[in-house]
Symmetry: D3
Subunit: 315 residues, 6 copies
C-alpha cells in the first residue's frame, strides 16, 4: 500500500482509503461535486469527485473503506486527488490498523504487563474482580485494547486506553512504595479500573467519538457501575471495600468541576487522582512537542496545561 | 406525656426521653458527673447526673430512650434537669414519633397522593419502574416514608423526603403543562426518583446523619444505581429511555460544584433541577421564618440563600 | 406577497422587503456594487445591486422597506437576488408585521389574559399600580406589546416581552398556590413588572437592539424607576410595600454577576427569580430544538444552558 | 465630663453616657440584673445594675442618654461600673458629639471646601444639580454632614461621608488634570454624588446601621434615584448627560460582585471607581495602623485588603 | 519620504520600508511568489513579489529595512504594491524612528522630568539606587527610553515605558500628598522601578515581543532582581528598606492571578498597585477612542476594561 | 528526663522545659499570676505560677528553656503544673532536640541520600550548583537540615524540609524514568532546590514562624534569588539553563493563586509541581491519620485536601 504521506504531485493513486468525511458542493457553474477527506494512519488528503454520477463512482458513506483510483494534483499549494473511480472495499481487502492512529507501544506486551500486575494483587477479592474483567470477559478485553483514552487531547489512538491505564498503574505502584499509608492493592485495582468506562463512553475507531450514553452519563459513573456489577458476582466481596473502590473511581478527576461527584476522601483516591492527572499532562505535553516542527520554540497557549509552553533547551 | 417545652422551674420530671447526647465531665472539686441532652419532638433540655454511680442510675448510651426521674431547676437563665434515676425503656413503652421531628403533613395522605400520580403515568415502562419501588418494595417504602430530605438545611424531619419529593413532583407536573417540549412521564418519573438515594445516604432517625456509603458515594450516584437495578428487572425497558432517566437523576443538582457529574443536557433535566431547587429554597426560607421570633425582622445571612433575609411586611 | 422562504432559482421577484443590511463592495475588476440582505418574517436572502448608479436604483438605507425587482439565481449553492430596480416604499404600502419575527401566540389574547390577572389582584395599591401601566398608559401599552424580551437569546420577536411576562406570571401564580409563605399579590405584581424596563432598554423593531440608555443603565434599574414614578402618583401607597416591590424587581436576576445590584432577600424575590429563570431556559431550549433540523441529535454547546444539549428521544 | 478612657478602679462615676446596649440576665442565685454597655466618644465600659427594681433606677432603653451614678471596680482584669442610680437625660443636658465617633477633620471646613469645588463647576446643568443638593436642600445637607461613609470598615464616624466624598473628589480633580480624555465636570459631579445614597442607606448616629430600605435597595440605586429626581426639576438638563452621570454612579463599585448593576463603560466611570476604591483602601489601612498598638508589626489578615498587613518601617 | 498612509492607487513607490512580515506562496498556476507586509510609522501595506528570482530582487529577511521600487494597485478594495526591485538598505540610509510607533510626548523631556523627581528624593539610599539606574547605567538608560510598556494593550510604542513610568510616578506623588500614611520616598522609588523588568521582558523594537526569559521569568521577578543587584552595590542600604521596596515591586500587579507572587501588604504597595492600574486603564481607554472613527459610539467589548465602552458625549 | 506525655496527677515535676507561651492574668480576687505553656517534644502542659514575685521564681521569657519545679494537679479534667520554682537553664544543660518536634527519619541518613543523588547528576553545571549549596555552604547546610517544610500544615518539624525535599526528589527521579521527555538532571536539580527559600522564609525552631522577609517576599522568589546568586559564581553556566531552572522554581506551586508568578511552561516544571503537590498531600493526610484517635472514622473537613476525609478500612 502506498501511504498518503508518500503521495506527490502527478502520481496516480489506486489504493483503499478510509473516508473520513464526505460532503456535497456546487461549483460556480452550478455543477455538483463531492469533497472527500481520505485517511490512512500516516495522515489525510483531500479528494474531489467532479462527476459523482459517472459510471465508476459507487455510492459510499463516511467511515467506509473505499478503493480510490485517481490522480494527484496541487491546488493552492496543497495536494488533492481527482477521483476517477470509487468502489467500496470488502472486509478482508484491508487491515483497519493501516488506517487508524495507533500506540507506538505494542498492545500485547502492554496487556501482558497489566496481567502480571493483576497477578501480583494480594487481596483475593480485588484480584478476582480484576480477573473477571481482564481475563474472563473477552468482549471487554477486545474493546479495552482497541480503545483510545480520549477523543482528542491525549492518548487518542488505538491502544491509548491500555497505554494510559498501564502508566497510571505504574505511577500508583511507585506511590504505594513511597507512602506507607497507601494500600497497594486497593490503589492498584482502582488505577486499573479507573477509566474502564471509556470503553462505552467513546465509540470504537474509526469513530472514536462520544456515544449518546457517554454524553448523558459519562465514563466515571458508567465505570463505577461496571465495577459494581462484577463485584455482585463475587461471593463475599466485603461491602466496605467495594464502597471504597467505587469511591476511588468516582473521585478520580479530583474536582467537581472536572466531573467527579465526590472529592477524594480516602488517601488512595487522592493518590489515584495525581497518578492520572500527571500521566495526562505528561502525555499531552509530549505529544505536542512530538508533533511540533520546532519543539524548542514557544508552542502557543495550551488549554489543558493552561499555559504557553515550549520544549526544554538546556542551554 | 409531659413535653419538654412545657417544663418549668421546680417541676418534677418522670417520663421517657431520647438521649440526644451524653458526655462525662469533672467538677472543680474533681467529682465526675454526666452532661445529658434530653430530647422529645418539642425540643431539648439539659440534664445533669451528679452521681453517675449511684443505685438508681443504669448504664445507657446516646440515642437510647431512657426513663428519667428528676427535678427541674434554673441555671444561668436556662432550665436543666437534675437526674435522680435513669432506666433504659423497652420498645413498646414509648412511641418514637413523640421524640422525633415530623412533617406537619400526614405521611399516609402524602403517600397516597404520590401513588395516584404514579397511577396516572402513561408510559408503561416508567409506570412499572415506579411501581417496583413504591408498591412492590416494602422495605424501600418503609425507609422512604421515614426519611428526611436532608441532615439539617430543610425538610430535616420524618416524612421530609416524601414531602419534598411530592412537592418537586407537583412542580414538575405544572411545568409539563406549561412547557409543551417537556415529556410529562419522563419528568414526573425523574422527579419521584430524584432523591431516592437519600434513603441510603442518611441513616434512619433519630440519627439522620450521613452514612459511610453516603459520604463516599453520595445519593446522586446511589439513587441512579438503584434505578438502574430495578430497570434491569423490567423486560424490554427501552435503553435510551433508561439512559435519559438516569441522566435526569445524575444532573438534578444542576452544577458540577453541587455534586452532579453531568450538567443537564435534556430539557426534562433542566426542569427537574429547577423544580428541586425552588422547593429546597422555598422550604428553607419558610422554615427559617417559622422558627423565628420576629419573622418580619432581618434574620441575618443564610448560606443556602446566600443573602441576609427577612419576612415580607407588605406595608 | 411572495415570501422569501418560497423563492426558487430562476424566479422573478417583485415585492417589498425590509433591508436588513447594506454595504458597498468592489469586484475584482474594480467595479462598485452593493451587498444587501433582504428580510421578511420567513427569513432572509442575499441581494446584489451590480449597477448601483443605474436609473432604476433609488437611494435607500438599512432598515427601510424597499420594493425590489430582480431575478433569483444560485451561487455557491445559495440563492441570491440580482436587483434590477429598487424603490423606497411608502407607509401604507406594506404591513410591518410581514417583515418581523412574531410570537406564535396571539398578542391580544395574551394581553387580555394579563388584564384578567391584574383584575384579580386583591391589594388595592398594587392593583392600581398595575392599572396605571397596563390600562391607563397607552404609549406604554403599545410599546410593551410590540417589544421582544431579548435581543437574541429567547423571545426575540414581536410580542416576546408580553409572552415571557405572562408565562413568568403564571409560574408565580402556581408558586403562590404551592408555597403559603408567598404573598400572591406582591409576587404577581412583581412578575408583571419585572421586565418593563425592556421597553426602553431595547429599541423597537425592526432594530430590537440595545439603546444607549439601555447600555448605560439597564432594564433592571430603569424598570425599578418606572415603577417608582407610578407609585408616587398613587396616594397612600404604603412605603414598605413600595420598597419590597422594587426590591423584587432589582433582585430578579438572582445574582450580582447577572446584573442584580441586590441578592433576593424576600421570599417573593427568590420565587420571582426562579419563575423568570426557568421560563428563559425552557424557551431557549425549545427554540433551539424548534429551529433544529435534527432536534433529537446533539445540538452542540449552548452558552445560556452551559451544556451540550439534545432533544429527548424516549426510547 | 469625665471620659470613659480616664476611669480607673475605685473611681466614683456621675455623668451622662449613651447606652450602647442593654440586656437582662440572671445570677447563679436566680436574681435578675442588667448588663449595660456605656459609651462616649472615647470608648465603652461595662455596667451592671444589680438591683434593677430599686428606687433610683429609672426605666431606659438602648440608644438613650442616661445619667449614671456608680462605682468603678475591676473584674477578671476589666473595669466595670456598678450602677447605683440611673436617670434619662433631657435634650440639652448633653452634647451628642461627646458620645459619637467623629472625623478628625472639621466638618464645616470640609463642607466649605466642597462648596468651592461646586462653585468651580463649568457645566451649568451639573452645577445647578450640585447646588440643588448642597446649597438648596437643607435637610439633605444636615444628614450628609452627619453621616458616616460605612457601618464599620472605614470612615465609620460622624462626618465620615463628607470626608470620604471630599477625598474622592480631590482624587478625581487630579485625575482629570492628568488624563485629558476625562471630562472634569462630569467626573467631579459624579464624585460628589457617588455616595449620597448612604444618607438613606444608613440610619443616623448613634445607630449608624443599615436601614430597611438600605438593605433592600442599597445606596447605589437609591443615590441614582435621588440624582434623577433633582435632574427632573432642572429645565433643559440634557438627557444624555443625565444618563451618563447616572451611569457613573451605578457603576462606581466597578464590579457586579460589589453591587454595581453595570460595569464602567465611560472613562469617567472607570476613573471614579478608582478614586473611590483607593480612598477606601488608604483609609482602611490608615485606620488599622492608627488603632494598632504596634503598627510596625504584622496586623493579621484584613478582609478588605485581602492580605496580612503591616506598617512600613523603612529600615 | 512618502508615508504609507499617503499612497494611492497608481502611484509609483521608491522608498525604504521595514519588512514586517514575509512569506512564500504559490499561485493557482503553481508559480512561487512572496507576500510582504511593508511598515512605516504611519501604517502598513501589502506587497507582492511576483518574480522572486528576478535580477532586481535581493535576498532579505523579516525585520530588515529594504528599499522597495514598485507600483501601487488595488485588489479587492485594498491597496498593494507590486514589487519590481528590492534592496537591503544600509544603516544610515534610514532613521528607525520613521518606521516605529512612538510616544506623542518628547522622550528627552520626559526623561528630564524623571531625573528631577529622582533629584528630589529625600532618602539617600533610595536616591542612590535610582541614580545607579537612571544616571550611571547608560546601557540601561538607552534600553529604558526605547522600550514600550507592553506588547500590545497600552503604551505599545517607543518611549511607552518611560511615559507610563512617569505617569505612574506622578500619580504616586499625588497620593503621597493626599494620604499622610504613605512614605513618599519609598512609594516614588517603587513607582520609578516598578516596570524596569520590562526592558528585558520585551525585545527591542521593531520586535517588541516577549523574550524567552520574559516568558519564563516575567518582568516582576526580573525587575525585583535588577533592584536587588544594584542595592548590593550600595554600602549600608538598610535591609528592611530593601525588602520593603522589593515587596512593592513584587506586589504591584495587586492580585495573584495577574502574576504578583505576593499581595500588597504595605500601604505603599497598595497605592502603587492603584497608580499603575489606573494609568494602564486610562491609557487603554484613551488609545481606543483615539484610534476609533466614531469615538462617541459604542466600541464593543474590551477585555482589559471588561466592558463594552463608548466615549462620553455629555448631552 | 520525664516527658510531658508521662506526667500524671499528683506527680512532682523537676525538669527543664521550653516555655512555649507566657502571659499575665488576674484572679477574681485581684491577685496577679502567670499562665504558662510548657513544651517538650512529646507535647505540652499548662503551668500556673500563683506567686510570680516569690523568691524561687526567676524572670524568664517565652522561647526560653526553664527548669521548673512544681506539682501536677487536675483542673476541669486537664492536668496542670503549679510552679514552685523556675530558673533559666544554661546552654548545655539541655538538648534542644528533646523539646522540638523532629522527623521520624534520621536527618543524617537523609542528608547522605541527598548527597548521593547530587553525586549522580550528569550535567556538570547543575552538579556544581548543587554542590555549592549542599557541600560547600556550611551555614546553609545547617539551616537546611534544621528547617521545617511549613509552619503548620505538613512536615512542620525539625528535618521536615530535608525529608520533604528528598521525597519530592525521589518522585522526580521516578517521573524522569517514566516519561522520556523529562530531562532528569534539570528536574532533579529543580526538585532539590525548589524549597531552599524556606530556610529564610521561616525562622529557626523553636519559633518556626514566618520571618518579615518571608512575609514580604516569600520562599519562591527568595529561593530563586539564592539559586541565581550561586549560578553567578559558576563560570560558564549556560544562561538558558539558568533561566529554565529558575522558571521551574518560580512555577513550582503550579497556580497563580498559590503564589507562583508564572504557570509551568516547561515539562519539568509541570512534573515538579506534581511531585511537590503529591508529597504535601500524602504527608498531610498521613499526619492527620497518625495523630487521630480513630483514624478509620471520619476526621472532618480538611482545608488543604478540601474534603472530609477518613482512613481506609478495606472491609
Amino acid at each position: 500500500m502506498r501511504y498518503i504521506k508518500d503521495l506527490t504531485e502527478g502520481a496516480r493513486v489506486g489504493d483503499i482509503y478510509l473516508i473520513k468525511s464526505k460532503s456535497s458542493a456546487v461549483t460556480k457553474n452550478g455543477k455538483n461535486y463531492l469533497n472527500l477527506t481520505l485517511q490512512d494512519k500516516t495522515g489525510t488528503i483531500d479528494g474531489k469527485v467532479w462527476d459523482p454520477n459517472s459510471a465508476g463512482i459507487d455510492e459510499f458513506e463516511e467511515k467506509e473503506y473505499v478503493e480510490i483510483v485517481g490522480d494527484v494534483s496541487s491546488f493552492n499549494g496543497a495536494l488533492q486527488v481527482s477521483v476517477k473511480r470509487a468502489r467500496i472495499a470488502h472486509e478482508g481487502e484491508y487491515d483497519s490498523k493501516d488506517y487508524l492512529p495507533v500506540s507506538a507501544k505494542d498492545v500485547d506486551s502492554m496487556y501482558k504487563e497489566l496481567l502480571d500486575i493483576i497477578d501480583r494483587t494480594g487481596n483475593e477479592y480485588l484480584k478476582r474482580l480484576l480477573q473477571s474483567f481482564f481475563i474472563d470477559d473477552e468482549k471487554f478485553i477486545a474493546r479495552f485494547k482497541f480503545s483510545s483514552a480520549a477523543k482528542m487531547v491525549h492518548h487518542a489512538f488505538v491502544g491509548g486506553l491500555l497505554e494510559h491505564t498501564l502508566s497510571v498503574t505504574k505511577n500508583c505502584i511507585f506511590f504505594a512504595a513511597q507512602y506507607p499509608r497507601l494500600d497497594r492493592d486497593l490503589l492498584v485495582t482502582a488505577a486499573i479500573c479507573h477509566d474502564i468506562g471509556k470503553t462505552v463512553e467513546l465509540s470504537p475507531f474509526p469513530d472514536n467519538d462520544y456515544t449518546d450514553e457517554g454524553n448523558l452519563l459519562g465514563h466515571i459513573v458508567m465505570g463505577t457501575q461496571m465495577v459494581d456489577e462484577k463485584i455482585r458476582s463475587i461471593d463475599g466481596f466485603p461491602s466496605v471495600l467495594a464502597t471504597e473502590l467505587k469511591h476511588c473511581i468516582l473521585a478520580h478527576h479530583g474536582e467537581y468541576e472536572f466531573g467527579s461527584p465526590k472529592k477524594p476522601a480516602l488517601i488512595e483516591a487522592v493518590a489515584l487522582n495525581f497518578a492520572d492527572d500527571i500521566d495526562a499532562k505528561m502525555e499531552t505535553f509530549s505529544e505536542l512537542l512530538d508533533k511540533s516542527q520546532n519543539p524548542n520554540d514557544w508552542q502557543g497557549f495550551n488549554r489543558l496545561l493552561d499555559s504557553n509552553i515550549r520544549g526544554t533547551r538546556l542551554g
